[in-house]
Symmetry: C2
Subunit: 487 residues, 2 copies
């Protein structure tokens, strides 16, 4: 039964299991104690720290073990902000950071701080130039205390796989005198993070280590004041008695995973390329998202028009494939993934496939074999417009216009082209888009449809649909979205 949700969590790596079992007998005592059981535990902890530091590329005394990647991010952000309090209270983050970073940013804002969010392009990538421009240096103009205390950038995105220009951004941060915290949760198993970053966070269960172990690295010389309360453990950066056998297993498996990383990256990259190429051929009305080249080797994400992400997920689960989704209907809050939103891409019918190391090509082929039928069934259940449906009152679909290429709007509006209103209020993704697609043919080319939809996803999916089908999104006023038929 293929598990394609590696980016969420991985089964324990055999080396992790072996190390965990070996450490159970020696690693239960308090490493702060002076007796032999304590000293034995301390030796294990020191060895694990050295192994992890070597894999990260830092000094052992720069690395603390935390109870999770999330806690590493929370502590790292709070500690760097507090340590740089005098430089200013501005936190700069990319718009596609992990929710743990964004939650920490919200907490900072609630505490009176300022958060600057750096946008990404449609591939989910920040521009180093834009990121640099978002920093308020502390050495130049502006009053002291007005500067950027910290910048955060992931090494690669967890939902769409896009790699960020960390080294370039680190250079700009260094020039501005701003420390850069890198969330390396997704990329650390594949190799060290390049460039002159200041802080780094990661999570062991993303590389086949146990849950409950994160890494927080704070480079020497970075001002850091860990959020209270603190205790004497882990350089004062992670209070509480840790799970030492899990830490030992985490460090051992990081080394093991790294030893296989280069070869495995090549293999999985080819499998992902296969998915990226074949899915749009096999399934109509699909958008493959994320940077096609500068990406994690093992992860691909696509969205299917007219599909309920949760239904798709369950159908794939029944077919034996475990995947993940950023669609609004699969989240507790009924809002689409903030990553897809920041990219401005389709969110309905969203599927993330992330391959664990060792995934067989045959499993990927099996997935590609079942996917078209699974999507078709979900679409049929929702009575979605068939991809091959001729648009009832128009010519066949044309390529979507490039931004700015659309013909001027005023003349057609002025011509008083007929319009139609569709009430999808109270209906959830993907129904509003399906209802829009069903009626667009009823207005002539140049006519407009007013779609009333209060589902959060509509704000993202209606424009995305327009782009995919070659229509023009005229904007929204509250819950009213205006679409002009172009083809």
């Amino acid at each position: 039964m293929p598990y394609f949700d590696a980016a969420s969590s991985l089964p324990l790596h055999p080396v992790a299991r072996q190390a965990l079992l070996a450490a159970l007998d020696e690693g239960w005592a308090d490493p702060a104690r002076l007796h032999r059981e304590g000293r034995r535990a301390r030796l294990l902890l020191d060895a694990a720290r050295e192994a992890a530091a070597e894999a990260v590329g830092c000094r052992p005394d720069e690395l603390s073990f935390t109870p999770s990647g999330t806690r590493a991010l929370h502590t790292g952000i709070a500690g760097a902000l507090a340590g740089r309090r005098r430089a200013g209270r501005t936190l700069v983050v990319s718009a596609v950071e992990h929710s743990a970073v964004l939650h920490a940013a919200q907490a900072h804002q609630a505490d009176g701080g300022t958060v600057v969010e750096i946008p990404v392009d449609r591939a989910g990538r920040v521009s180093a130039e834009t990121f640099g421009a978002g920093l308020r240096g502390t050495g130049g103009s502006g009053s002291p205390g007005d500067g950027t205390a910290l910048a955060c950038l992931q090494s690669a995105n967890h939902e769409v796989g896009t790699e960020q220009p960390v080294a370039e951004v680190a250079e700009r941060c260094a020039a501005a005198g701003v420390p850069l915290l890198v969330d390396a949760a997704q990329s650390l198993p594949w190799g060290p993070v390049p460039g002159g970053w200041s802080l780094l966070a990661a999570s062991a269960h993303k590389w086949g280590g146990p849950g409950g172990v994160g890494l927080l690295v704070v480079r020497k010389g970075v001002r850091f004041a860990p959020p209270p309360p603190v205790d004497e453990r882990e350089s004062g950066r992670s209070p509480g008695f840790a799970d030492l056998p899990a830490i030992v297993a985490a460090a051992a498996s990081l080394r093991a995973v790294r030893a296989e990383a280069d070869a495995e990256a090549v293999r999985l990259r080819a499998l992902v390329d296969r998915v990226r190429a074949r899915v749009p051929e096999l399934v109509p009305d699909v958008e493959v998202v994320g940077d096609p080249v500068r990406r994690l080797p093992h992860l691909v994400t696509f969205s299917c028009l007219y599909v309920d992400g949760e239904a798709l997920l369950h159908a794939l689960d029944r077919a034996g494939f475990s995947v993940s989704s950023g669609s609004s209907c699969t989240s507790g809050t009924l809002t689409p993934s903030h990553v897809l939103r920041a990219m401005g891409v389709l969110s309905e019918g969203n599927i993330r496939v992330s391959l664990p190391p060792g995934t067989a090509g045959a499993d990927v082929d099996a997935f590609l074999a079942v996917l078209p039928d699974v999507v078709r069934e979900v679409r049929d259940r929702l009575a979605a417009p068939a991809a091959s449906d001729p648009q009832p009152a128009g010519p066949p679909p044309a390529a979507p216009p490039e931004p700015g290429e659309a013909e001027p709007e005023e003349p057609r509006e002025a011509a008083g082209a007929p319009s139609l209103t569709v009430d999808s209020l109270g209906k959830r993704c993907p129904v509003p888009v399906i209802e829009l697609a069903r009626v667009i043919g009823r207005v002539p080319v140049g006519g407009t449809v007013l779609l009333l939809a209060d589902d959060e996803a509509a704000r993202l999916d209606v424009p995305a649909w327009c782009g995919m089908r070659g229509h023009e999104y005229l904007g929204s006023d509250g819950h009213a979205h205006r679409v002009r038929r172009l083809v």
Copy 2:
């Protein structure tokens, strides 16, 4: 090799190991995911929560798993203080709480809050009456916002084993409308905490579960606002991906330990009674501390005059016994344990013996057999006064006077009795007390010794020595301690 530091951490219980191994295969996925691996993990998590809640005596939805007992305390205290912000900003704690509670109290104080510390008697026990008087009710007099937001009391002390009157204190808290948080880390393996507490924290590695698992219970109806940043895990009370196999093992072992608790408590209580009775017979100049009756079954603490705690600890370690110490020389800060300080008892040569379940009587006897020689050797190395030494210029030692029983001070002072000054500045515990004991015989009965000592422990140990040897402690002025020879 007997390990007598159960109160610090226990080896993995066989049931914990078994449950951990069983859960490794099913418990690695994210329980928040909808696919089968996620659902399987969710089932394990739900079952562990039910088992733990049953052992605690609460509803499953009142219980969150945290990464440690320390984090449970930190979150519990911060969340209750924030939730009760409108009632006031006063936090009431006993003086002998675990450092995790005191660190949280310091953080509250640094944030502008008020902390009231309730003293304990020489046995380390709070009086319910004193505790109740320390609460500032929110229903009665005093302006709103001036009241006590939260009170914290441990169920039993981790250093001396004394049980606290939790149920009585909970009644007084309820009467004052103040929630009570109970740190149950030491007692939970022995049974549920009685009484109407509002919040409870505990730690799995104290009962033979793995490290990295704590419990935080927040009763329904208790106002609680978890400290940000939060995420959707564990009712918003513990962010980050947890170590699910460890949680499963923690819950399973709590049940297993509880099943054996009553019988084991009787057995260990008898062994501890043996230590309590025999140590003062076997070793001269020893003070056994903590409540002799209202105490944890497995824990006993005593302090030896004229002994360096760290040396004693290492000597016992070489003899094969792992114990713990609250002496200043065994702490990183060179201050004696805050618990011993609050009790006002001797801190030098302090040894805590805490027996793991299953400890054999023969191991305790072996400990009692080696202890006298070990203490003697350490004392010899420090050239400590022998217990049987006649005081060179005085009568044999008498029983120490009861407080208030000492004869009036003025007449003797007025008589201009000879005095002597000893300079122990810069010398560490137990040297100042040893130097005091060496010279006391050089002044006649009624004469005084002025001991200059800047070691933190002297403030505690000089008065304690006076009490044990029947002399009078006249007080201190900075680093100058005045002692009158009485016997």
